[in-house]
């Protein structure tokens, strides 16, 4: 059974598989490299992104935002090696238990949405299931569509 971590980005409440968080940092751990906000993970610089709660804006993290934590996101590639390509600023991070998960009706879904399902936590609050692959697909799509906004290099 997948264990989930709850994340809040403003009004957006997300649940992410616990094993996909490779590191949690504080905003004070962030530094700028070539004008991009980064954190360090195993001698790599991981770019830190900021996503708004309506999923209408993706940008490089701002140092003075309301975020309290920076989570680095990892997934295993085909060979089993762990990849961490980006980190996200979030307001809260907490463990979740006893989730009820339901699908989002197909008719509502847009391609590249990072929202994979609806969950209800033990406190009867509702949010959305996501995972690192869906988040990365969304971020990459957003950057392609809004390529005039910024350049967000992804770490390898």
């Amino acid at each position: 059974m997948t264990a989930y971590i709850g994340l809040r980005l403003g009004a957006l409440y997300l649940a992410l598989p616990r094993e996909q968080i490779s590191q949690i940092n504080l905003p004070t751990d962030m530094h700028q490299h070539l004008g991009i906000a980064c954190v360090r993970l195993a001698h790599q610089r991981i770019p830190v992104l900021q996503v708004d709660d309506r999923l209408s804006r993706v940008c490089a993290a701002q140092p003075h935002s309301s975020a309290n934590y920076i989570i680095s996101l990892a997934y295993a590639d085909a060979s089993g090696a762990l990849l961490t390509r980006f980190a996200l600023q979030v307001e809260t991070v907490h463990k979740l238990a006893d989730l009820q998960i339901r699908p989002i009706p197909d008719q509502m879904q847009r391609r590249n949405s990072p929202l994979l399902g609806i969950f209800t936590d033990g406190a009867k609050q509702h949010g959305f299931i996501t995972d690192v692959v869906a988040l990365e697909t969304f971020v990459n799509h957003y950057i392609e569509v809004h390529s005039h906004d910024h350049d967000y290099p992804m770490a390898g």
Partner: protein, 155 residues
């Protein structure tokens, strides 16, 4: 002469539903806004443990009519945001399925695309909509294009 029972519903356009399509009227339902989703279905209603999409074309009305798409298995329910409380009515055979006023401005309404038939009610030709057709991507995209041109009724 036989009669057929319909529910007259007012979204931003007068519509009708066959009686078996209508499930329940909800006025204090729990809603969950879904970011980055289809622009015509921006939130979900929790009803009896089920999440269903809300189709909203009129402001932020909290009055929702739950309708059942009898031919849809993956998402059998839809909540329609109402501008007014729905009313039951009966139509006779002679009122039922009048010929549509083709070429008339009213037939340009996207709601005719999900109509099963139509009925003459209060001297107006009202489309009788099929909830299953309301949930097709083609119809939802047409509806979005329609309201994008006249966005005042969509939140």
């Amino acid at each position: 002469m036989t009669t057929t029972t319909l529910w007259q519903v007012e979204l931003d356009f007068p519509l009708a539903l066959l009686e078996p399509s209508v499930v329940e009227l909800v006025t204090d339902g729990e809603e969950l806004a879904v970011p980055y989703c289809h622009p015509m279905l921006q939130s979900l209603l929790l009803w009896r443990g089920l999440w269903m999409p809300i189709l909203r074309t009129v402001g932020n009305s909290p009055t929702l009519l739950i309708v059942k798409a009898m031919s849809s298995h993956d998402c059998p329910y839809l909540a329609l945001a109402m501008a007014q409380t729905p009313e039951k009515c009966s139509v006779t055979d002679r009122q039922f399925a009048p010929s549509l006023p083709l070429g008339d401005k009213v037939t340009l309404s996207p709601w005719y695309r999900c109509a099963l038939s139509a009925a003459l009610i209060d001297a107006r030709v009202v489309p009788i909509i099929d909830p299953a057709r309301c949930m097709t991507n083609g119809f939802l995209n047409t509806l979005y294009q329609h309201y994008r041109k006249s966005p005042s009724s969509v939140r």
